[in-house]
């Protein structure tokens, strides 16, 4: 392969025409309450992991909803499943189940290789 000294920049646009928006349906099957999220960020605010690192559950959920999977699995690994976020959600979204099921859906989508 030639060394070009540069790479084609990835577009930063959210392309709703090409993004994988169907994966979200698989999450909804498992956690129907995910629909109700109004992106208030209460979950991110209370997150225990946030005492140590920046982890934004709301944004992960949103990115997944928008079909943006890159780096998501690694990001979700920061979660400790402690469930505080579930307690503060004003819309009764089962945030903890979202994370747990996101891990499964993402690994099914091959965004995370399972090394054994």
């Amino acid at each position: 392969m030639k060394n070009w000294g540069f790479k084609i920049s990835k577009p930063r646009v959210l392309d709703f025409d090409t993004a994988n928006l169907d994966a979200y349906n698989r999450l909804i099957e498992k956690v129907p309450s995910a629909h109700r999220c109004l992106m208030c960020g209460a979950c991110t605010a209370t997150c225990t992991a946030n005492l140590h690192t920046t982890f934004n559950f709301r944004n992960c959920h949103l990115m997944f909803r928008r079909g943006q999977f890159e780096g998501l699995a690694e990001e979700l690994d920061k979660c400790m499943l402690c469930g505080k976020c579930k307690l503060v959600c004003p819309r009764g979204v089962n945030t903890r189940a979202i994370i747990y099921n996101l891990r499964i859906v993402l690994s099914d989508l091959n965004y995370k290789k399972i090394e054994l």
């Binding site: 992106m39 960020g41 307690l87």
Partner: protein, 340 residues
């Protein structure tokens, strides 16, 4: 007209209906559980969106009660309301019985008890207050921390007890957003150098002049609005309050230490509303009374002769409540004319 109407609740809705009925020669008995009339606006100092003195409104409303057709009974809490034949009866704890041709529920609202959101620390930390507490403080034009300091940084949290499935209140209380804007401006007028922040999920500025006031608060008073629901408050060593939210627009978790935290408590059905609605099978969602229909039947109930006015039905602003009260009076008169 030789008819009598029983009005339960001496707040703005009750007074306005009473006066409208009195003008039409209907005898009115208005029963208030507290010592004073005017209900929740007694606790308010200024009103949104025009900063009108609540005192003025109270004066006007109280004067209306001087009408000879109106009898005001205070310190009497109705515990039982029931129809018998074409008449309506109301009883208090002392078994005192009131009788009338029609009854109006104007039992209004109570502010949400912020202690139920323990994570926000109301009743646990000294420097967490509610919007109602703010209003009381503002009467003396002194917004101070528990230690008597002038706050240099204040935060208003919207949707405390509203739009929250965890406390069972799915609805929007309608008044808190604009109230937060009003109180933030009041605070900034008192302490121009201080910083005021307002945390919101959505800013709902649907009333007339609301958007203008919102804009003014940003432009003239520099109030900062942060889109993110605050989910936790903790106390610092110096008794300030550290809150955690996500600044959702920058997608970053944030924390902020403030001198005073104001919880914009929502509207909940009052205990009387729930009790009397339940007795008469007109209990709707969240403890509010349920009108017969949403449109022309908004003041009527399934029970002939039982009418509703004001915030016993749902969260309403003061002007909406007064308009609703007058419309209830029209329906009551129509009813009185057609029934024996």
């Amino acid at each position: 007209m030789d008819k009598k109407v029983l009005i339960i609740g001496g707040g703005p809705a009750g007074i306005e209906t009473a006066y409208s009925l009195a003008l039409q020669d209907v005898k009115v008995v208005m029963i208030e559980k507290d010592a004073n009339v005017c209900g929740n606006i007694q606790n308010w100092e200024k009103l949104f969106p025009d900063f009108k003195d609540a005192e003025e409104v109270r004066k006007i409303l109280s004067q209306k009660l001087n009408h000879p057709n109106i009898e005001v009974i205070t310190n009497t809490e109705i515990k039982n309301l029931y129809p018998q034949g074409n008449l309506w009866f109301a009883k208090n704890d002392d078994e005192r019985i009131f009788e009338a041709n029609a009854a109006l529920l104007a039992t209004g609202f109570e502010v949400f008890d912020a202690k139920r959101k323990e994570e926000l620390g109301y009743g646990i930390y000294d420097n967490v207050i509610t919007s109602a507490d703010f209003e009381k403080m503002y009467k003396s034009r002194k917004i101070l921390t528990a230690e008597g300091r002038v706050p240099q940084r204040i935060a208003f949290l919207n949707c405390v007890g509203s739009r929250d499935e965890k406390v069972g209140n799915h609805y929007c209380s309608r008044v808190c957003c604009i109230n937060a804007v009003k109180q933030a401006i009041e605070f900034k007028e008192l302490v121009p150098d201080a910083k005021a922040y307002c945390f919101y999920m959505d800013m709902r500025m649907a009333g007339q002049f609301y958007e203008e006031l919102y804009r003014k608060s940003q432009e003239k008073y520099g109030v900062t609005y942060i889109r993110g629901r605050t989910s936790e408050a903790a106390v610092t060593r110096d008794n300030r309050i550290q809150i955690k939210a996500e600044d959702t627009l920058s997608a970053l978790p944030m924390k902020m230490t403030v001198d005073l935290l104001v919880l914009m408590v929502g509207i909940e059905a009052s205990a009387g509303t729930t009790l009397l609605s339940e007795q008469n099978d007109v209990l709707g969602l969240y403890g509010f009374a349920k009108p017969l229909g949403l449109y022309s039947e908004d003041n009527m109930t399934t029970k002939p002769g039982l009418f509703l006015a004001g915030t016993c039905k749902r969260p309403l602003t003061l002007p909406e409540t007064l308009a609703d009260a007058r419309s209830a009076a029209t329906d009551i008169i129509k009813y009185l004319k057609t029934t024996k």
